[in-house]
């Protein structure tokens, strides 16, 4: 017997599971109920720790832990090899991964080895009447939503954008964690990691309040950052600012950065380019400040303020209690 399964790749972040993986689990649980397929979380590593139980609490019916010392840290080729073998054995119907740096690196390689279809950066997921997975992707600057189907092979693969689905706690008393020793023997990785530098801070898609700096306030970034601080908000930037190396990619908002889910965003000097807009689509209240009255950003704002950022920010700082 071969039960049809929905697999979710659980990306590890030290002893934790990435938020996006838990978000996908929640959505997969909903799709599983609709289609009668169990949800299987798949995690690779050497020490299972409590990862399995965390996944079971967030929508997984089963967790498979692929265990091998070579899987302790991520490598494209060893992870691809391990997953390729496991997928060959259990032939899941669907395989979902987070559209993170790691998820995208892995999904492309694995899908090509499996000779199956992969859809990138999806923002909606559903199962159609014909039983196929429908993966929604915004196209052409979010003017359209294209629903994409993988027709010729299984698993149907998609990478899912962080911050789109909600992480939910779904009680599951009967869930099981299967630890599978896969014994890779030798690493097949041809890429050697010489050094790594990471800062750990929760990603922007979780922030309640965000102050965003765009190209128009490039010269006043410090002031905008200070304002974010005073208001208890996180700082975000538009793509040009990150491209110029003036801020980390971790702060980038938009289609190639984070999608925000904030209650409130305050946007300075952003023109409202196509790639920026998906980043603020899920925010409750959008306030935009731009010196250009014709700025495209105003069409996507709740409050439109034509003002010079360098004049209004000092006032906001003062009113916010800056000394």
């Amino acid at each position: 017997m071969n039960r049809k399964e929905i697999w979710v790749y659980l990306e590890r972040n030290q002893e934790e599971i990435e938020e996006v993986s838990l978000e996908i689990l929640g959505k997969a649980n909903e799709l599983g109920k609709k289609s009668g397929m169990p949800v299987v979380g798949v995690v690779l590593g050497n020490d299972p720790g409590d990862l399995g139980n965390i996944a079971l609490k967030h929508g997984a019916d089963v967790v498979i832990f692929l265990k091998d010392p070579l899987l302790e840290s991520y490598s494209t080729e060893d992870y691809t090899k391990a997953l390729f073998e496991m997928i060959g054995k259990r032939t899941p119907e669907i395989f979902l991964l987070g559209a993170t740096y790691q998820g995208r690196d892995l999904a492309g390689r694995l899908s090509a080895r499996l000779r199956t279809g992969l859809t990138a950066n999806v923002v909606s997921l559903d199962i159609g009447e014909d039983g196929y997975l429908l993966s929604g992707v915004p196209g052409y600057g979010s003017k359209v939503l294209a629903e994409i189907v993988c027709v010729r092979n299984k698993p149907q693969m998609s990478t899912v954008r962080p911050g789109i689905f909600n992480k939910t706690v779904i009680p599951n008393e009967a869930g099981i964690v299967e630890v599978v020793d896969i014994d890779l023997k030798d690493s097949v990785s041809r890429v050697k990691v010489l050094s790594r530098k990471v800062e750990k801070h929760p990603d922007l898609s979780r922030a309640e309040k965000v102050v965003i700096a765009g190209n128009g306030v490039e010269g006043n970034l410090d002031m905008v950052a200070r304002l974010a601080d005073i208001l208890g908000a996180r700082l975000g930037v538009s793509r040009p600012i990150a491209d110029k190396g003036k801020a980390s990619r971790e702060l980038q908002v938009g289609s190639t950065g984070y999608s925000l889910n904030a209650k409130l965003v305050l946007i300075f000097g952003v023109s409202g380019a196509e790639h920026f807009l998906p980043g603020i689509a899920n925010c409750q209240t959008v306030i935009s400040i731009n010196v250009d009255r014709e700025s495209g950003i105003f069409e996507y704002s709740d409050y439109c303020i034509v003002a010079d950022a360098s004049k209004i920010i000092p006032i906001l700082l003062k009113e916010g209690g800056d000394r």
């Binding site: 492309g108 000779r115 994409i148 092979n153 990691v193 990471v198 793509r239 209240t285 709740d302």
Partner: protein
């Protein structure tokens, strides 16, 4: 250093694209095209590698014959050669069929040390081709690269990962995807452009030139299809204009902030 192959895509300028709700297709008429921005960064990187370590820069693209003009811009920037894969059979390719076609061309070009791509394109935005291409060529991959240096037979690169970056190294050949905006792409050289327009002869390869089976390319080589296109309805915003002096505007912002708590 052997060939440095740079895969580039000619993309429509996004702001020119509009959805036609009647036909449920994108209106592309009158749309201007350009070399995908991140691919220009990849070209620039390839030229800098060439200047330092030698080799030949070969541009590779797929599309209709009139895309030759964009490849000539790359030649004018300093690339040594350009190949356009053009065949009706290639139309409608998803990222896998695209990668399969490109991989056949990379093999045909041969004698290469690096295959560079932009990290993703502005139209599809999937970023899937670099890793699918690497798998089909059985080469190591390094994605989201912001710096690359050649050291003998290996390439050392800095790649972006969540929360930071890694320095990684692999033997060559290897496939690298290059982050958008990591360098300032040089302008096409005027005299070289004139030469490219008049005398340079672009290589065009069809499916039969590549020796690729038609069923591996285009629509028939694709694993995904677009089931339907719908107009994306985003949340309608209130668009309340806040006028007055800058102090009054600031007061209003503080009021909204207090209310949203």
């Amino acid at each position: 250093m052997r060939n440095i192959i740079v895969c580039i895509k000619i993309v429509p300028k996004a702001e020119d694209m509009n959805f036609d709700p009647e036909t449920r297709t994108m209106k592309r008429g009158g749309v201007e095209n350009q070399i995908n921005e991140a691919d220009k960064n990849a070209i620039e990187l390839s030229l800098r590698i060439k200047e330092k370590s030698g080799g030949r820069v070969v541009l590779l693209s797929m599309g209709p014959p009139f895309f030759d003009q964009y490849l000539k811009i790359g030649i004018a920037m300093g690339a040594d050669d350009a190949i356009l894969l053009s065949d009706r059979l290639f139309a409608g390719a998803d990222t896998f069929a695209t990668s399969a076609t490109l991989s056949a061309a990379v093999r045909k070009i041969g004698d290469y040390d690096l295959v560079l791509c932009g990290e993703e394109t502005s139209d599809g935005g999937t970023g899937q081709v670099p890793s699918q291409l690497a798998e089909l060529l059985d080469l190591p991959q390094m994605l989201f690269v912001s710096e690359a240096d050649i050291d003998g037979n290996s390439v050392k690169a800095r790649r972006t990962i969540k929360g930071g970056y890694e320095t990684v190294e692999s033997g060559m050949p290897a496939v690298l995807s290059i982050e958008l905006g990591i360098n300032q792409p040089r302008f096409p050289d005027f005299r070289r452009k004139r030469w490219a327009d008049k005398e340079f002869s672009l290589t065009v390869w069809s499916a039969s030139d590549l020796g690729i089976k038609p069923e591996l390319t285009g629509t028939s080589g694709s694993y995904t299809i677009v089931k339907r296109l719908t107009e994306f309805s985003t949340h309608q915003r209130q668009r309340i204009s806040v006028a007055g002096t800058v102090e009054q505007q600031a007061d209003k912002i503080m009021e909204i902030l207090r209310e949203s708590r």
